[in-house]
């Protein structure tokens, strides 16, 4: 039921009930929450806590597919020209659309900025958010129409003057295809420098518009909204066909998988099935990572389901896992040079570890986007990101208490 950031949905079906594909099986609780839908038709065999990618057991609905894959009858296709902005946003919310980059933030929230924030620029993120992942790239190559339908809808919703699709310069095929597809349309295709983390929201905005989102602020503070290209496609499905978000593209890759692939997966598919489809394992993996190598979550096993935010499944062998013991910081300043937020990671991490929270937040710990660049380059293999994350959590907890 926890398919997105925000309050998890609450199961609205019972064991033994038969459900159709696309039927709502969990209802939203609160504004920052979206409903959950059955990914296929079948019978509900359990409503209980199951292992979840976040590492703990969370409420889940288990469906035994009947093989018919029959759509629910109450899908409501919409005519975009007849819908108001609010109608579109409501349809997106009902369809359970979330940001498909990986964070899975409910899309309808992003689509309802407060009225005083005028969105002048709408950016579509075609930059792969992390190395190894190619899901967005495949999406752009195979389904440009769906993406562009979504782009048009979102442009209408935001009333933006400028619409940009940012794509990394090393994907000329996707750039060429999209340029051809939207010839004549008021959409810019912008090739961007290939560097991590170009796909991070704030960095993307800076690259496209030259504006820096203020510290502690949101993109809307600089008049920008950012959506993933896959999210655009999901928005199009939701508005034009009334289809809920029940599938996504996921990259299955890593040295321990036999045939790395991009798969179109149903939400809720167990990871073990993804592995099977990709020809199985070459050896016992050392690390199972859901998401990308820089920001993904390690898993305890293959028995967890893919969620709406599962952009990738990365399988590393033992020898790919960095097991070097942590050394003292030699102040080589590589993390400082690497930090896309211009922070001093080593200083923040050192303060965080000593619970010197006032100092840590003075060094802008809260601005860290946890991209992993600092830990990646650190020659002393200090878990910088983890330390900063720990500090951030402690700072937040302290703020809540006071």
């Amino acid at each position: 039921m926890a398919q997105h950031i925000g309050a998890p949905a609450v199961a609205s079906v019972e064991v033994g009930q038969s459900v159709a594909k696309g039927q709502e099986i969990g209802s939203a609780k609160g504004f920052v929450s979206v409903p959950v839908h059955a990914p296929t038709s079948g019978e509900v065999v359990a409503v209980e806590s199951r292992p979840h990618p976040w590492g703990t057991s969370l409420p889940a609905v288990v469906i035994k597919p009947d093989g018919e894959d029959r759509w629910t009858a109450d899908l409501q296709p919409g005519d975009p020209s007849a819908l108001s902005v609010d109608d579109i946003v409501e349809k997106v919310r009902l369809a359970g659309v979330v940001g498909m980059g990986g964070a899975a933030f409910p899309a309808h929230v992003k689509m309802s900025p407060p009225p005083e924030k005028k969105i002048s620029t709408l950016i579509f993120n075609g930059v792969e958010c992390e190395p190894y992942l190619t899901a967005d790239h495949r999406m752009m190559l195979e389904e440009p129409e769906r993406i562009l339908q979504g782009v048009a809808l979102l442009k209408y919703v935001f009333g933006a003057d400028r619409v940009v699709i940012g794509i990394e310069a090393n994907k000329p095929d996707a750039i060429a295809l999209l340029e051809k597809e939207c010839a004549g349309a008021p959409v810019e295709i912008l090739p961007l420098q290939v560097k991590y983390p170009q796909g991070a929201e704030k960095q993307l905005i800076a690259a496209v518009t030259g504006r820096e989102v203020p510290s502690g602020g949101l993109p809307m503070d600089v008049g920008v909204a950012v959506h993933n290209v896959s999210t655009a496609a999901a928005v199009a499905d939701a508005v034009l066909f009334g289809r809920p978000l029940i599938e996504r593209v996921c990259t299955v890759t890593g040295p321990a998988i036999r045939e790395p692939k991009n798969l179109r997966i149903r939400i809720g598919t167990p990871l073990s099935h993804l592995v099977e489809v990709c020809g199985g394992l070459t050896e016992d993996p050392g690390k199972i990572v859901l998401g990308g190598p820089m920001m993904g979550f390690t898993q305890l096993g293959f028995d967890v389901p893919a969620t709406r935010g599962t952009s990738g499944l990365l399988l590393l062998r033992d020898e790919d896992v960095d097991r070097q013991e942590e050394g003292p910081c030699i102040r080589c300043s590589r993390c400082v040079q690497a930090c896309p937020m211009h922070l001093l990671p080593t200083t923040i991490a050192a303060y965080s570890r000593r619970d010197l929270l006032a100092e840590a937040s003075e060094y802008c710990a809260m601005d860290c986007i946890e991209c992993g660049s600092c830990s990646y380059v650190c020659p002393a293999t200090i878990p910088l990101v983890q330390a900063i994350r720990y500090g951030k959590a402690a700072i937040l907890a302290k703020k809540r208490n006071s």
Partner: protein, 280 residues
């Protein structure tokens, strides 16, 4: 000679007048009782009282907003002194100490994955709920040891936190940093504890820990008043634990321990001869 006396005297006089005027002009009020209270407090600034440091506590005491017994490190001695300074009756607090309710070190309790990263329990807990298979067991990454201002916590070689009964002052700092709530406050007089923190069913506990409580009720059946079992976990009823010692030998997993008899295995701490009235 006269010149010397006169000139020095004049300098002194001028200075005295200037200082006197300045003292009037720049006077700042400080309650003398606050300073006196500061003198008496231990000065460890541990924060157990809930105020920022001993100075903050002293201020609150003088303001009369709180009780005198908020300083566990100081103990009864400090309370008595404070009472004298502030001119009120002392209400002595019973001494409480912290105990780690777990004996499942890395050899006795199963580990579900190999953890890589920051050596801190809170950080590890965020990774799939921590490497220990038991959801309540001590993670052994020494966060409590680092938090302890009194050097009262020992980490055994196999990764288990053990708190010295003598050194612990009951400041509760370790409780605050433990992500698994395996550390509890207990009356100092009670040296017998059920050292387990898992509410899982017995069969589950057996799977991941050799020395965890399986909720078999034997202790409770042996000495009915001294133990209670809730959610498959036995605990000592500290108010009436006079005969709790009788059940220790009966526990099938040996998870009841009398600290006056010895600390958990692997600990280098030595039991201090029990000073509790009902020691066997």
């Amino acid at each position: 000679m006269l010149a010397a006396i006169l000139s020095l005297g004049c300098i002194g006089l001028v200075a005295a007048i200037a200082l006197g005027l300045a003292a009037k002009k720049f006077a700042v009020e400080v309650d003398p009782r606050e300073l006196a209270a500061m003198e008496v407090l231990p000065g460890a600034n541990c924060g157990a009282c809930g105020f920022p440091g001993c100075a903050g506590y002293a201020k609150a005491l003088v303001a009369g907003t709180i009780d005198l017994n908020q300083c566990p490190p100081g103990g009864a001695d400090v309370v008595a002194k404070l009472a004298r300074i502030l001119g009120v009756e002392a209400s002595a607090a019973a001494r409480e100490i912290a105990v780690v309710l777990c004996q499942g070190d890395n050899r006795k309790a199963q580990v579900k994955y190999q953890y890589l990263g920051l050596a801190d329990c809170t950080a590890a807990q965020k990774i799939a709920g921590g490497p220990k298979a038991c959801p309540g067991g001590c993670l052994g990454l020494a966060s409590c040891q680092r938090a302890c201002p009194f050097d009262a916590i020992e980490m055994t070689a196999d990764g288990l936190a053990v708190i010295s009964r003598e050194k612990c002052t009951g400041c509760r700092k370790c409780l605050a940093v433990c992500p698994r709530n395996v550390i509890r406050m207990t009356p100092y007089e009670s040296a017998i504890h059920v050292l387990c923190n898992s509410h899982d069913k017995g069969a589950m506990v057996r799977k991941y820990c050799q020395i965890g409580c399986i909720g078999c009720h034997i202790c409770k059946k042996t000495i009915p008043g001294a133990y209670k079992v809730e959610d498959f976990l036995a605990t000592v009823v500290y108010e009436q634990d006079e005969e709790a010692i009788e059940a220790i030998g009966k526990c099938p997993t040996k998870c009841i321990r009398d600290f006056s008899d010895g600390y958990p295995e692997g600990s280098k701490l030595l039991p201090v001869a029990a000073d509790k009235p009902h020691a066997a």
